[in-house]
């Protein structure tokens, strides 16, 4: 059976199982989303937004779409996937099922817990009804698919004037108990006025079995709030990820989403920012370093709707072997959004002849008093710089690594958790195959 048919066939059973929450709008939301997915199916290369990224090869698997088996894993075996150097809250899932053993949640002053719990309990109903599925794209069939089957993921609600004292890590493990597994986590994150939170998200396969994750995250940043979000995408070569993240910002809020894509088979990021107020700052950073036949596709959208806002977008890509990069950065400045400052930069280095990058900046500016800039470069390593370094005694491999590290560096500078920065730096050094000989 085709994956679409399989999903369609299993929807009723799914709805029956999760029907406990029928007194909220969620039931209708799921049904509508399901209809949309059923009508449109998975996107194909004919779809302009999926022109360079074919899902064909990852859709052909016979995925288990309802993993049931609760499996336990020892913390010691997965410790390395956590940012364990510092204290943090943790929301951990194993094959789509919440692991209380590995998690560290909170209801003390703020809610850092599970979406399934929030969907069931009446006290969360107002928040859920007010926010759930309000900014996730209605026209994206892949997002609709997630919405139709949404039941589990992280639920984070920070009330106003609260600084969450430690980062929150959201980690999805897949164990390989299922030969082929489809995961559809759904995260809802609401941050109140003047509040501040840092979140790290990671999807990690623990085996070589095939995993496809289709994740949707909705993030709401209220007035004056600050959210720093980090996505670590360094999965096994058998794991693919479609990450759909939607951010809505109110006035004077600062949100940054940093995406580090070093692994996986196919990684598609749909990241959309909607500015709903003045003096908003949106930051989108990305570093992709891939090889083999890996693919990383970053599709971003920034909607400037009100005056005096800024957006800063910087994506760097290093492509080895036969890997493929896609960058599509859309920035829309609506007519009312005067005095917008919108910056977009996309720099790519193709290391090997077989590597490709498809880069497409799309600026649509309808206001006249704005400062917008965009730049896109595709290059090779500078041979003069290489010779310069080698002539000083730095071997070719290290010189290469140092140059590539230097290239990616400015996107690294934005990481505000020092331990995470060190981690990412080390990951990059490892990815580039160099021992840099000094602490970066």
């Amino acid at each position: 059976m085709e994956l679409k048919e399989k999903l369609v066939a299993s929807f009723l059973a799914f709805e029956n199982k999760v029907s406990v929450d029928t007194d909220s709008n969620v039931h209708d939301i799921r049904s509508n989303a399901f209809d949309h997915f059923e009508q449109h199916g998975f996107p194909s290369k004919k779809d302009e937004e999926w022109k360079y990224t074919s899902l064909k090869s990852i859709l052909k698997h016979d995925y288990n779409v309802f993993p049931e088996g609760e499996s336990a894993i020892e913390f010691a075996t997965v410790k390395k996937y956590f940012l364990h150097e510092i204290d943090s809250y943790k929301i951990v899932f194993i094959d789509g099922v919440y692991s209380s053993f590995l998690s560290e949640t909170s209801h003390d002053g703020y809610d850092i817990c599970l979406l399934s719990a929030a969907l069931k309990q009446p006290k969360y109903k107002t928040v859920v009804d007010h926010f759930f599925n309000t900014i996730a794209a209605k026209k994206s069939s892949i997002t609709s698919l997630n919405t139709a089957f949404s039941k589990e993921g992280a639920y984070i609600h920070i009330p106003k004037s609260t600084v969450v004292p430690k980062p929150i890590q959201i980690i999805h493990f897949s164990t390989g108990n299922e030969a082929e597994l489809l995961l559809q986590p759904r995260n809802l994150i609401v941050v109140g006025e003047n509040s501040h939170v840092q979140i790290i998200e990671r999807h990690q396969s623990l085996s070589g079995n095939v995993v496809l994750t289709n994740s949707v995250t909705e993030i709401f940043a209220n007035k004056n709030s600050i959210i720093d979000y980090y996505k670590i995408q360094n999965d096994e070569k058998s794991a693919s990820l479609i990450d759909n993240t939607y951010v809505q910002q109110k006035q004077h809020s600062h949100v940054s989403v940093n995406t580090f894509s070093f692994g996986g088979n196919l990684t598609r990021n749909n990241l959309e920012f909607f500015q709903e107020g003045e003096y908003i700052d949106s930051t989108l950073n990305g570093i992709s370093i891939i090889g083999d036949k890996q693919l990383v596709d970053n599709h971003t959208l920034v909607m400037h709707k009100h005056p005096n806002c800024e957006s800063h977008e910087l994506y760097k890509g290093i492509y080895f072997d036969k890997s493929t990069g896609v960058f599509n950065g859309k920035v829309i400045v609506e007519k009312e959004a005067q005095k917008t400052n919108a910056f977009q930069q996309n720099n790519n280095i193709l290391i090997d002849d077989g590597a490709t990058i498809n880069a497409k900046p799309q600026l649509e500016i309808f206001a006249d008093d704005v400062k917008c800039s965009h730049g896109c470069t595709i290059g090779q390593l500078d041979s003069d710089a290489l010779f310069y370094m080698r002539s000083r005694g730095i071997p070719k491999k290290e010189a290469n690594g140092l140059l590539l590290y230097a290239f990616a560096n400015d996107a690294l500078e934005k990481i505000k958790i020092p331990e995470l920065k060190t981690r990412i730096t080390k990951l990059i050094a490892k990815k580039l195959g160099v021992d840099l000989g000094f602490d970066l």
């Binding site: 080698r390 002539s391 000083r392 005694g393 071997p395 070719k396 230097a406």
Partner: protein, 245 residues
């Protein structure tokens, strides 16, 4: 120390060096002069091992060892240093980290342990002082946004740190103001010993007043057309190159 025999080199089928012979002994300073485009920088690059050039004939020996098969970094590990006519900007790598890496890579290649951090710092301080370099400078990205003169001074700082056996200074004087020229020349002279050698590529007699060469060679169209003592530089200053063609 350096022995070049009948060296021919070309790039993209264009012959640039057409039979160079040069013999530099330990303790000596040689100056190479010659018109623009005569092949001076090419010669320097070929000695340092730049792979874009093809050596079609002849040989380069360093302390009797043929360099032909050696990569640029291996030549550096054996004591070859080239101060670039146009130093390259490396954003994101500080001067300090760069030089630390370079030194430790050389040490590693020569079977030595890494230089302890304390000694490294001490050495950096000492050499920065010798070349009158502000310490703040050292935490900046290598050559990025440096003025022309600052870049040249930084090249000599690296030379001082690496303590090469054979230093080739390609137009290190151009871009330096008078005071900086004195500082840099003084630095080079201090580093000079009976065990190392310096090849200066320059257009100007002025530098040679500060770093006095034992020999002066004139390179023209890929060949050394005249060699002499330091007075040859004065003669060239007065007469130009036409009389040698």
């Amino acid at each position: 120390m350096l022995e070049i025999n009948n060296l021919h080199a070309k790039i993209e089928d264009k012959d640039i060096l057409k039979g160079i012979n040069l013999n530099v002994k330990a303790g000596e300073v040689h100056a190479i002069m010659g018109p623009n485009g005569s092949g001076k920088s090419t010669l320097a690059s070929v000695i340092a091992g730049r792979e874009d050039y093809e050596v079609s004939e002849g040989s380069i020996l360093l302390n009797n060892e043929d360099l032909e098969e050696l990569a640029p970094e291996e030549r550096a590990h054996k004591g070859v240093f080239l101060s670039f006519q146009y130093p390259i900007e490396i954003p994101g790598v500080t001067v300090t980290n760069f030089i630390k890496t370079a030194i430790n890579e050389s040490r590693k290649a020569n079977g030595l342990d890494e230089l302890p951090a304390k000694e490294m710092l001490q050495k950096i301080r000492e050499k920065a002082e010798l070349l009158d370099i502000d310490r703040k400078f050292l935490s900046r990205s290598l050559n990025e946004g440096f003025s022309g003169g600052e870049k040249k001074r930084n090249e000599i700082f690296q030379m001082a740190m690496l303590e090469p056996k054979l230093s080739i200074l390609d137009e290190t004087d151009s871009g330096l103001d008078i005071d900086a020229l004195k500082v840099v020349a003084n630095g080079v002279n201090k580093l000079k010993s009976q065990d190392n050698a310096v090849v200066l590529i320059t257009h100007y007699q002025r530098l040679l007043e500060y770093i006095v060469p034992d020999y002066v060679h004139v390179l023209h169209d890929g060949k050394i057309v005249k060699s002499g003592g330091k007075e040859l530089a004065l003669e060239l200053e007065a007469k130009g190159y036409d009389w040698l063609k």
